[in-house]
Amino acid sequence: MSVAEIYKTMSYGPAPEQSDFVLVWLEQHRDGFRLFINGEWADAHSSEIIATTNPATGEPLGQFPNADEADVNRAVEAGLSAHASWAKLSGHERAKYLYALARLVQKNSRFLAVLETLDNGKPIRETRDIDVPLVARHFYHHAGWAQLLDQEFPDHTSLGVVGQIIPWNFPLLMLAWKIAPALAAGNTVVLKPAEYTSLTALYFAELCQEAGLPPGVVNIITGEGATGEHIVRHKDISKIAFTGSTEVGRLIRQKTAGTGKKLSLELGGKSPFVVFSDADLDSAVEGLVDAIWLNQGEVCCAGSRLLVEESIAEAFVEKIKTRLNKFRIGDPLDKAIDMGAIVHPSQCAQIEKRVAQGVAEGATKWQPDIPLPEKGNFYPPTILTGVEPAYRVAQEEIFGPVLTVTTFRTEKEAVALANNTRYGLASSIWSDNINRALNTASQVKAGIVWVNTTNQFDAACGFGGYRESGFGREGAKHGLYEYLKPKKEWQSDKNPIIAAVEPHAGVSSDEIDHTAKHYIGGKQARPDGGRTLQVLGHKGQHMGRVGHGNRKDIRNAVEAAFKAESWSTTSAHNRAQILYYIGENLSSRTEEFSTRLVKLTGATKAAAKKEIAQSINRLFTYAAWADKFDGAVHGAPIRGYTFSVHEPMGVLGIVCPDNNPLLSFISLLAPALAMGNRTVIVPSERYPLLATDFYQVLETSDVPAGALNLVTGLRDELAKVLAEHDQVDALWYHGTAEGSQIVEEASISNLKRTWVNKGQARDWLSAQGEGQAFLRQATQVKTIWLPYGN
């Protein structure tokens, strides 16, 4: 086109990013990539090959092995033999390697951006301005954590070999989010990139070589789902970190249940984008562009559900349409486009199917009248208006450039709609009224809240979700805990379960026969099934009876806990006062409880007194913590505050062990209550009477109804019901190894956070029985981004 013609039309022309230097590299690997094992390029045992193509053109880019079990075994072996010396390195030594990787990413930033765009189809603007800078930032940040590890985590140690499985939507960024913290903490890694987008991971392996990373510290294995499964199942892998679909997350939860593997899952989302009438609407439109039309909407935290105040809905949707009519879709390497290609034809088909389904349900589809390239996997930005929460399209993740629009009337309704989802990854709230914005931010159930902004990320700020969006955080100090374990947590030679004994008819209790009920909603409640269990003392003597709790008792207890929301919102000071009060009341019953402990457990009087003293001590500890387990303000690169708060999990199930039956019970309930959880507690199966005696302490201590509910019965039977209950947000289990597995398996459907003892015992009398680990398990981190400026 001539200058004169352009002068007249003022059109945009092509603005391609140079890619020849990347094509040369791909050409060098035309015969196929190999696996990166033990610091070397290794031929795969598997003869299967995966080919990868450019989604914008369909042209082949390269091929690599579909690694099999033997390949995975070799990689894990390499990781295992590298672990000891890698973990032994000083933090500073590891920091130097991570720093080198950060520098290498920066020095190769253009190469990585172009390669990522070729492989994934996302615009070069994004890989260049978002993905790659965040990758470098993540390695820098974690070089820092490596440096500070001994100071900041003196009681923790690395896990071993970590298996990491990452998705195709941010291939290199997810690699960085996985590898950087794992290495900083002293672990070695076996990482499987997604089969659609493995190229930047393979190039990263070259950078590991260039950085002189010791062999076996990072191993990169290409392959499909089956390869991932071999990693997940491998016995020598200590932890699985996964980012991807909720469906695959469930499978991984299932395969790892009972294996003792640590697990972090960053899964799907259906994140709300809430626009109030007092928002800067033009800016909110741009926010939406960044929320749902970033990376073609193939983003787990995409703001895919627009919730807009009814009074401005029509005008706001018009503004979105005006904006979308200016959209440019095309060659992802072009520097003047808004959206590139969908990663794979199958994903395109999936998006189309979901949109058609939404239309069939009653939504109105709108797409801008803009040109799409003739070749390649492209899908236009799409708005579905008139979407009701009852439509599937409002509930299920589309993972494409599709926005659903739903209106609300009030702030309260906005929050209700925002939380009306199984997911809880992110949210974006738009209002220029700080009261409204922060009030809403505090009530949205999501791991990330962006106020008047969206899709901002930083290594210093935790990322991760609530509910079925997974558990664990990536980035910040929270993220490091996912790759560490306490040096001393369990007593491997002790059993938390005290074996049942034969009833001993000859010895009878000298007390009046007593049958304890459950304690639900602040009242003693008869067991639903009308059945009881005999409680025997350590010698088999009859000590009384307790309710034999069943599913319905758990249901009632959870219902009561769910309703007791005020416990979660009351001030930390109030919660502390009540914990102190419980301690005070327990103290005045020391004699009664110690007598009970002696008779039930056979403990000496001195030991019993010590257990009670320690119980009171522990109540004081968590009363102290109630207003001190603070969040943090993070050093995010924005003008504004990015802060994280510790929110209670919500309804927390606790299944208690038998050892130190009073102290273990107190040690578990106190941190849970201190952090604002409403609890459903199954006390020691063997010695439940300590807990049922405790009712009177509770009743005199102003514990609000429903904050603490007790159901006695058979441990694993009730644990399973709690694990399966969708309204229970987290579950702590102290019982057998088998019971731990039951809990992990039963949590698959709702992916609740579980904390199990794997059959091991804690020394409740020592420091093992308390601490911040309990508080972290009692809370979830919500990170709130709050840019400011007027």
């Binding site: 002068y7 945009y12 603007r125 401005i312 018009e318 008047n452 504004g640 007027n790």
Partner: protein, 335 residues
């Protein structure tokens, strides 16, 4: 911007009309509605930060866009030591902003490329009018006690009339910043309406001096009041404030223009001024205008740069496009 906008009275952007736009006649305004205006600075800045990565013009496109930028320059001299000779030199440059061999190489020597206007103080108006006779290039006069705007109201009105009398086609007035800072919107509205009346046939460009208004929200409110009072252009700055034209301020003002257009059907022009010194920044402004307002506004009728240094940098970029060599300042005639 404002929650008032409803579908019934929205007018589509990009009408692609070839006609010279009609003058803005103003529109009735309810000052209470200004309270609904919200501008979020961080989000506004983020749009600007990402826009630079979303659009890019290269090669022929860049050359054509830079020529367009030239056609939108109000070539300006506003110095105490301006003389007839200085102004005549500037006017000659306005007529011939680019060396003819470069234009020839671009195939644009017949396109009649001139700057958008020449902008001077009142005393220099007759000189400029004379020097530009027959060129079709309008003369703009800064007025109303420029740059502070604190001379007696009556003399400010007289100043406008005198400049119009002297042949100025456009009057760049400064608003009374205190009306914005004190939120006395009716005073601002009346002032602009009076200025407009004093302009007669001359076009009224209202300088908001955005760097002195305290917040982006105030910029938006002042923009709305000026347009409703009949401003033909809204302009960011005098060039004399601590902070002059910026892209975020320009984004806010262009969105106001869009809003006003969608409600009234009247197109108001936009002029960023001060601190726009290089071709790259000029392109960023043109992209902003194209994205937020549409192609209609990519014309000197509706868009101007207030600049003095910008032209030389554009000339060097154009020569670079033609020759493939980086160019030098001295190769381009002074203005």
């Amino acid at each position: 911007m404002s929650r008032e906008t409803t579908r019934d009275n929205i007018i589509a952007l990009d009408p692609h009309s070839d006609d010279t736009p009609k003058r803005n006649m103003g529109a009735p305004i309810t000052f209470d509605n200004l309270d609904a205006i919200r501008i979020n600075r961080s989000a506004t800045e983020r749009r600007i930060a990402t826009l630079a990565g979303r659009r890019s013009v290269k090669k022929e496109w860049q050359a054509a866009w830079l020529l367009k930028a030239i056609s939108c320059i109000d070539l300006t001299t506003l110095a105490g030591d301006d003389t007839p000779g200085r102004v005549e030199r500037l006017c000659a440059k306005a007529r011939h902003p680019v060396r003819s061999d470069i234009l020839e190489a671009l195939g644009m020597n017949q396109a009649g490329i001139t700057t958008g206007a020449v902008c001077v103080y009142h005393e220099m108006v007759p000189i400029a009018v004379e020097a530009l006779k027959g060129s079709g290039i309008p003369v703009a006069a800064v007025s109303t006690g420029f740059p502070a705007g604190l001379s007696p109201f009556i003399t400010r009105l007289e100043e406008i009339k005198a400049s119009v009398e002297a042949g100025a086609n456009e009057i760049d007035i400064v608003i009374s910043r205190r009306h914005v800072l004190l939120e006395d919107w009716s005073a601002l509205h009346d002032e602009i309406a009076d200025f407009r009346e004093a302009c007669g046939e001359a076009h009224l460009k209202t300088i908001l001096a955005t760097g002195e208004l305290g917040s982006l929200t105030s910029v938006a409110k002042a923009s709305m009041v000026c347009m409703h009072a009949g401003a033909d252009f809204i302009k960011t700055s005098t060039g004399m404030e601590g902070v002059n034209a910026t892209l975020p301020v320009s984004l806010v003002m262009t969105r106001c223009i869009r809003d006003y257009y969608q409600r009234t059907g009247q197109q108001v022009g936009f002029k960023p001024a001060g601190g726009i010194g290089d071709a790259k920044t000029a392109l960023a402004y043109l992209i902003l205008i194209k994205e937020e307002l549409g192609d209609d506004w990519l014309s000197p009728h509706l868009f101007r740069f207030g600049a003095s240094r910008l032209l030389n940098d554009i000339e060097r970029q154009l020569e670079h496009f033609v020759t493939g060599h980086y160019s030098a300042t001295h190769r381009h005639p002074m203005g």
